[in-house]
Symmetry: C2
Subunit: 652 residues, 2 copies
């Protein structure tokens, strides 16, 4: 060997060089150099991906159907099928990396009218870089003179061909090694989780290299799951369902209370895991994809949902000082968390910040890219709780204000979730006080969802139906009012016109609950900003995420004093950013790492003991706010309109 | 703080120094310095182990029952109860490390008369250094201003107090964290597997720090288990049982054959796991020890036994080129391998060298310390197979010679294992040819075990009852011969005197099988030595391990040509070294690491295709060997005795 001729190869771009013996395999030389070369057949010439261009020098190469006549003329060869025969200059084309953009990540949802989302210009494309590697390798066949164990030779091949050292091969894989290795002459396809440095599957021969993953958002109300092609980011299918835990309590607090009951924890966990297993099963059926190709699942959700998913008691989340058991749960096998069908998959979760600022918020901050931009952004997730993060690439602070479930329909007599039959937009006639509305899915209305409730309060206030305290004016000739004893209601839909056969109305008690909820959110925003000596006018934009309904009338949201009174074009309504963050983290190792950094870097402020928050909350129990100076455009608008507000103002 | 006075502390021995503020905790200063200090209460003054001697300077220390008046006068204090009040010189007494010697590791077995074992002088004491740490720690209680998750604060405390970074806390432990942390005011006792950097148990408060481990030898014939105190190496109890797989086949090959049958693998695994679970259960009952304090189990055994234990098909071990699936199985949880009762324990195994040179041999080499000594040693494990290792601290080579199960009673009509009723020693009267024997456990004999069979062949040969080919001499007036057709037997015990009611005899076919077995072993020894250009006279000693019986008459073993004819005092009969190696590896991280190194360093030679081995095997089908020059003392002895040999020689 030592007398054999050595040749110098230079690889461009990068100008890395290596000396190899005559007839050395060109692909191996590339790998020896530590360079990357695309390949999915493990170097046996059947995938055509390891194409390179020989710019100078001579190689002995086999014919290949992957090389066109034109390419051949230009010096393209399959590196795995080429032997070095002289000094070379070799051009390695850049590996084609699929790109994905957030919009494409949300293909399944049509952007709403208000959806500004993140434009193509704003957001840098995400490089797909999943940490799962699926490659076909050729393990050296044993012989009497080389009779090391199967395990050893598989590890050695993984080390030599894939450059992965000390890959962990768990016992359940070892159990099937001997058969699988011999099935196709010691050629196998390995699926390796690079993050955990673990072999998660081994199949005989050179099989389909497609890998899929699942992104899952466990919302208090809704579960959403994407089935994603990890090569190109395509969302093969998506599915969503109500969180079956709803029957044990609508909001987080009632779930935690239920979890403390006998067998409560067990039941809550059982139904959520069953439901997720069903979603997976249905996605597999719909997509005609083999369960073994699903290699990972990324889960996002608020802290309580994550505790219940992992089977960890959430009890102490609701007891001062509100401590979570964990903000990030360890990478687990599907079996460990009770997930069926996808037994090869590793389950990851998005890290949360605090008990009331969970992984869903981290996901949202990741999806909106706040942490990498210079603009000062307020991120607001309006679900059962109001969760806020304010900041930019320099710093981030977050808090949670227990808004209560009013805007998700809880504690409001005719409140329902944003489902078919929900009134989602409302307009009240200034003269007749009659109510016009839009209904999700059309047909007769069943109730009012979050965006509808905001519209109603806004409209009622602007049209003078309620006063600043939220009390119904009984002396303006509103014939839609129904008052009895101390109970007064404004009827939107009469019993005969509703799907339920009952009036759809809003009572003073409902209004009270809604005002308390909006007060909490605005108090949160003001307190959070003041902690960093900023005012609402310093904000460059406000992102609103969450499940209040598909549409949100920002003007009304501002009019009732829930959101700050700044230019309307600074508002962006994004919908479910938790699933988007999970989707991005699933696709890209960088994004997942970024999400962990985000969770670590957000400073959490506990509002439940913050006196300034309390003061502002009390100030927010008026419409839009005790001090009208905070809402100049609302005040201006009221006076400019020939509105009930003006009339009432005169009376008051 | 910055204006506070700083004091310099010097710790001896070692002279490490540190500057700390006035009133700084002395134990913390020791830890800050990176020094070790014994402690099991986590620094709350209740264990009395962190005693140090203040040689110079002043501390403010609390009274403690652990400090005697005399000690107080000498400056001894509990470091955790002492605050620094001046510059100090502090003496840290050396942590008392328990020592263990191999003999103590075999307390349960009385050394046999031939047992030379390893004398106290020869073997350096083993420092007990298990990799399981059990310590009580105080986790900081959460408050509104410090409300990080339970998981985070446990990890932080482990990092700060125990200097263990990034400890892995698995999901099943996380599930019980919230309750356990609050049970005793955030004081918990953690059990950490330092090798895997994993928290394996957490208990509320400061509980008993005792940790126990199990050493297990899975022999083809026998299972042996030790329950070991990991603090001092004491073997609390030991237990042994037949390998229940015997009913599916006596030797390795027949087990592998059975494993290929339908459900064969499942059955073999089930019975062994059941049996081990029973052993554990019985040990726990006998010892009155809580199962949760058992933190590790170290398993040793030949490759086939390990495959079956881990549920891995051993099929290819018996097919050329004889490849094992793995020589070392990954560290597993008890649950993963189906072990009950000790759910906190991590299961480790001793690494093997090759398919037919398993972890039992690595264990033996470890136990005998061959790999660290300059003397050239031959290690021989005489079980169902004959396995050999020769070498010293410079090099080691090993091989396996398929001796077959004859010496364990297989293929020999009246052969049995070394159980009660087995004839284990034999002496034949030169004149009458009557047989005298010793029986294990006394009483009537049931059969003949390995050492008995060796004695018989040796005696028969020396007394002229058989010739060099192993044929029975029918013309010497031996009235104990029974011949019919082609079948000729030498009867040791008549039917009426035996426990079985049948003759106990040895036939020519039996003798043939035994001669083939001994030929294989001697051929192995010679071939192995010749591979490294050595002769038997270069050997400094021969260690014999294995289960041929409790006693082995070396003289007869040499006389039949099974073992080399060198000075008898070079022979040491050790018994079960597999369990001893497992026991040592369980106790000491260093020893376990050493065992892995041994397995990596032994060069394996495959004899099944070695022509020299074949030649020597054929040469060994004579007693003692075709070429008598190999056995000079045997030849000399034969002539010096007034023996049948002489007579026959004359006749022949």
């Amino acid at each position: 060997m030592s007398s054999q001729k050595k040749y110098l190869i230079k690889f461009i771009p990068g100008n890395k060089t290596i000396k190899v013996s005559s007839n050395y395999n060109l692909r191996q030389a590339i790998l020896d150099c530590g360079l990357e070369i695309d390949s999915s057949c493990g170097g046996v010439g059947t995938c055509g991906r390891c194409k390179v261009q020989v710019k100078e020098g001579k190689v002995n190469t086999k014919k290949s159907k992957f090389i066109s006549t034109k390419e051949k003329e230009d010096g393209f060869v399959l590196s795995c099928q080429s032997k070095v025969e002289s000094d070379l200059v070799v051009f390695i084309p850049k590996k084609k990396k699929a790109k994905v953009r957030i919009e494409e990540g949300r293909l399944v949802e049509k952007p709403s009218k208000n959806y500004a989302g993140i434009s193509r210009n704003e957001l840098s494309p995400v490089e797909i870089k999943p940490w799962i590697l699926k490659e076909t390798i050729k393990v050296e066949k044993p012989s009497i003179s080389y009779s090391t164990s199967c395990l050893y030779r598989v590890k050695k091949t993984i080390r030599d061909s894939l450059k992965i050292k000390d890959c962990i091969i768990p016992i359940h894989i070892i159990r099937k090694l001997p058969g699988i290795l011999r099935e196709k002459e010691w050629q196998v396809t390995v699926t390796i989780d690079k993050k955990n440095n673990t072999l998660i599957d081994i199949q005989a021969g050179g099989v389909d290299k497609k890998c899929y993953g699942l992104a899952l958002d466990i919302g208090t109300t809704t579960l959403v799951m994407y089935l994603v092609d990890l090569d190109n980011g395509e969302i093969i299918n998506s599915i969503s369902e109500y969180n079956p835990q709803i029957k044990f309590g609508e909001d987080i607090i009632s779930r935690i209370v239920y979890s403390n009951k006998e067998a409560g924890m067990k039941k809550l966990r059982e139904v959520i895991i069953d439901s997720i297993n069903n979603l997976i099963w249905n996605l597999l059926l719909k997509s005609n994809i083999d369960a073994v190709s699903i290699v990972s699942m990324m889960v996002s959700g608020n802290s309580t949902m994550m505790h219940l998913f992992y089977g960890v008691p959430p009890k102490y989340i609701r007891e001062e000082p509100y401590v979570a058991v964990a903000n990030r749960f360890p990478n687990s096998t599907a079996e460990e968390v009770g997930i069926k069908h996808i037994k090869n998959a590793i389950i990851y979760c998005i890290q949360g910040v605090a008990s009331y600022l969970g992984g869903d918020i981290t996901s949202g901050v990741l999806a909106t890219d706040i942490a990498r931009q210079s603009e000062l952004t307020l991120f607001l997730d309006l679900g059962t709780n109001g969760e806020l993060v304010v900041g930019n690439r320099e710093w981030m602070m977050g808090c949670s204000c227990s808004a209560g479930p009013a805007f998700e329909g809880g504690g409001v007599n005719c409140g329902i979730r944003a489902i078919d039959g929900a009134i989602e937009r409302v307009l009240i006639d200034q003269k007749t006080y009659r109510c016009d509305f839009e209904i999700i899915g059309g047909g007769k209305p069943r109730g009012i969802c979050g965006s509808g409730l905001i519209d109603i309060i806004g409209e009622m206030y602007m049209k003078g139906i309620i006063d600043r305290k939220g009390k119904l004016n009984q002396d303006i000739g509103n014939k839609y009012l129904k008052c009895a004893d101390k109970d007064c209601r404004y009827v939107l839909v009469k019993a005969e016109d509703s799907a339920t056969g009952k009036d759809i109305y809003i009572s003073e008690i409902d209004i009270d609950n809604l005002i308390r909820a909006k007060a909490a959110i605005y108090a949160g925003v003001k307190t959070l900003l003041e902690e960093v000596d900023l005012s609402i006018y310093d904000l460059d934009r406000i992102y609103i995420a969450g499940g209040l309904g598909r549409y949100l009338n920002i003007k009304n949201t501002v009019a009732i004093g829930m959101l700050p009174d700044i230019e309307i074009n600074k508002y962006y309504f994004l919908g479910n950013t938790s699933i988007t963050g999970a989707y991005l983290s699933l696709l890209s190792e960088d994004k997942y790492r970024q999400s962990l950094k985000i969770a670590d870097e957000i400073t959490y402020i506990e509002l439940s003991v913050n006196m300034k928050f309390m003061d502002r909350y009390v100030a927010g129990l008026f419409l839009p706010y005790t001090d009208m100076k905070d809402f100049p455009t609302v005040e201006e608008l009221m006076y400019s309109l020939d509105s009930g507000f003006k009339k009432n103002k005169k009376k008051g």
